[in-house]
Symmetry: C2
Subunit: 217 residues, 2 copies
């Protein structure tokens, strides 16, 4: 199957070079619905280990809730100024039940009897049966894949975003009531459009030289 | 600054739906140089916490080395059949020296005296001064952002890829001699073009319904 409408490499790189961790959003600019819907879909379509999707994405639209999240996010203004705020959450106590929920879904989508997935089930059960801290760390790492997908998708769509690890996760859990729903906040991404006077947006992007970051063996 | 040549949302989604964790590569198909170079650049341009880039990407071209890596990757054929194999490695013992190396680079690229970066330095030092296991886990999570960027970049360029967590990292470290260079293997991505007879490529993509994965608050 040939790829649909592949992007030219220079176009991709122009988007990735344009992308910044936006420090100042223009609070008056909204992301058009088709673009936002595609960004949500990019999260849905994100890869994860085994395809297990040990995550949920909470899009916080309630202004009052966002105001409460700001002080527990080091007061960063993006929390209230960006058009969209997504809290990336990892499954709390990822377990055999999650594996089985996923297998049900595979069986449904691919019209397969669950019996043919027995070996796959065994592999996944081994992963979720490790000590809880390891399972938690593993689920948390998957969230970062979705973050990478989301930020790249935003860049190629011409939407600004800002990943934010600097949040008080316990307070996020408390304010959003996540643990009771079976989730734990991991990080945040805000999205919208950069303010014209965002001073950081004018600074040169800093990366180590390619020759230092990529090594052929 | 307006985004350069933004992609249409439907085009992006077509690429993300086309993307699969490729199980069977066509060993005769090579990625054209401009595309591979752009994929390397997507790694260089990947975001990371503080922009610290606690990573290095080893592109293993040596066939003999790839043959050695296959048995320590659950024998997965992608390790030798894919055109490219990238080992994503995290900084071993991330420390104040890495922070200072990064600050040197900021100072160089932005032509700023290091003194103006003192507060930023302090923040980063606090992060790398946590207990070693926490610092290591944090650096490792950053690698997964780069993975998400790489897989999305490959998809929009029409290049197939496969992320692989199922590797014996210690054996990778040993075979590639990474710890002596200051790095630890975290995961692998292979890239190339899917084989025409890759049975997995024909299966429907399985995701939980959007309404289950995305929740508005």
């Amino acid at each position: 199957m040939t790829a649909p409408n592949a992007l030219a490499p220079d176009t991709l790189l122009a988007s990735l070079r344009w992308r910044i961790a936006t420090k100042k959003f223009d609070p008056t600019k909204k992301i058009p619905t088709p673009l936002w819907s595609a960004l949500e879909d990019s999260l849905v379509l994100s890869p994860s280990s085994y395809g297990l999707q040990p995550w949920k994405f909470f899009v916080v639209e309630d202004k009052a809730v966002r105001a409460k999240l700001k002080p527990v996010s080091w007061g960063q203004p993006q929390i209230v100024d960006a058009d969209k705020l997504v809290v990336f959450a990892a499954r709390k106590d990822l377990s055999a039940a999650d594996v089985d929920r996923y297998l049900e879904r595979i069986s449904e989508v691919r019209r397969l009897p669950k019996e043919v997935l027995a070996d796959y089930r065994k592999m996944m059960l081994a992963s979720v049966s490790q000590e809880p801290a390891r399972v938690q760390a593993w689920a948390t790492r998957q969230i970062y894949i979705a973050l990478g997908v989301f930020l790249t998708a935003a860049a190629v769509l011409g939407v600004d975003a800002c990943p934010m690890e600097g949040i008080d996760k316990d307070k996020y859990d408390e304010i959003l009531g996540l643990p009771a729903k079976g989730w734990n906040a991991v990080l945040v991404a805000t999205a919208g459009y950069r303010a014209d006077d965002d001073a950081y947006a004018k600074l040169a992007k800093v990366r180590f030289p390619k020759a230092e970051l990529i090594q052929k063996i």
